[in-house]
Symmetry: C2
Subunit: 144 residues, 2 copies
DNA sequence: CTACCAGTTCAAGTCGACTTGAGGTCAAGA
DNA sequence: TCTTGACCTCAAGTCGACTTGAACTGGTAG
């Protein structure tokens, strides 16, 4: 098996070296060891980083991503917990589809202000039922 | 037409009053005027706030959301620009679907570590082609 | 052997999106 | 008229996810 140093990993994934260190520190990935001070990674870390970036894009926090996949491939969440996350994603996907439709509508609708267009307002109504649970979390008053 | 004060709007949308003020300051919404110091909003602001929350969930920044819809319903972006945003969303939706499939796979696959499961690794490969342009932006070195 | 330089640590800084706190205002009810 | 209390402004603080900078280390090429 080939070992990669951090710059190699960074180059191949597009993830900054500082971010890679940050992920290791937070427990999302692990390095196999060191050559001197320098970290050595297994090739599998490339997939893990792709996965992390996917999760980040989906709006998950680093902690959530770690819980879902683990640095070692062992999720901290139960099967049920994982399915709940997947359900979150299903709702999110529906919301995004609605938003996409609205944007395309805005692009094509000749009405002067889309807010006055009944079809547009209906699209909003349709898409704004159903939030995912993570969303609620964000809306909570900060507990500092 | 009925006018709503900020607490009414907050109650009906679940958006904090401080956030509503923040959105007005950033130009995402407008208030019709004041009664004394107090802002008065038209009922339409409820839909606008739903839209903003949708856009935030999709990962758009407040600036992007303003460009897409405008406080007054007049987007700053061209039709073409809007379609690009919608295309971004299409890609994002595909990525999220892939992530959802992976999470469900992790939940159900009996392999000890999903990173060793060929099917899982293939799911990663499938989902990690195609990033949206906004994602690139985030990956750029900060120009601070 | 020594210099080089990619890589390291740790603390501090940045960015977006709000939140919080202190002190002020004013329409409305007693 | 006087007092509330909801809302106001403005500055500063917070949170997550990194980034940046300064000072340091240690294989490797010359």
């Amino acid at each position: 098996m080939k070992f990669l140093d951090i710059s190699e990993v960074s180059k191949q994934t597009g993830v900054a070296a500082s971010a890679i260190r940050h992920y290791e520190e937070k427990g999302l990935i692990t390095s196999l060891g060191r050559r001197g001070l320098k970290r050595l990674f297994a090739a599998g870390v490339l997939d893990q980083l792709a996965l992390i970036s996917l999760g980040r894009d989906a709006g998950f926090s680093l902690d959530e991503i770690r819980d879902m996949f683990g640095a070692d491939g062992l999720p901290a969440l139960s099967r049920a917990g994982l399915h709940l996350k997947a359900d979150d994603l299903d709702r999110q996907i529906e919301r995004l589809s609605g938003l996409r439709d609205m944007i395309r509508h805005v692009a094509d609708c000749p009405a002067p202000s889309h807010m006055e267009c009944p079809k547009f307002r209906q699209l909003i109504r349709i898409s704004t039922r159903r939030k995912r649970s993570r969303q609620e979390k964000r809306a909570l008053p900060g507990r500092s």
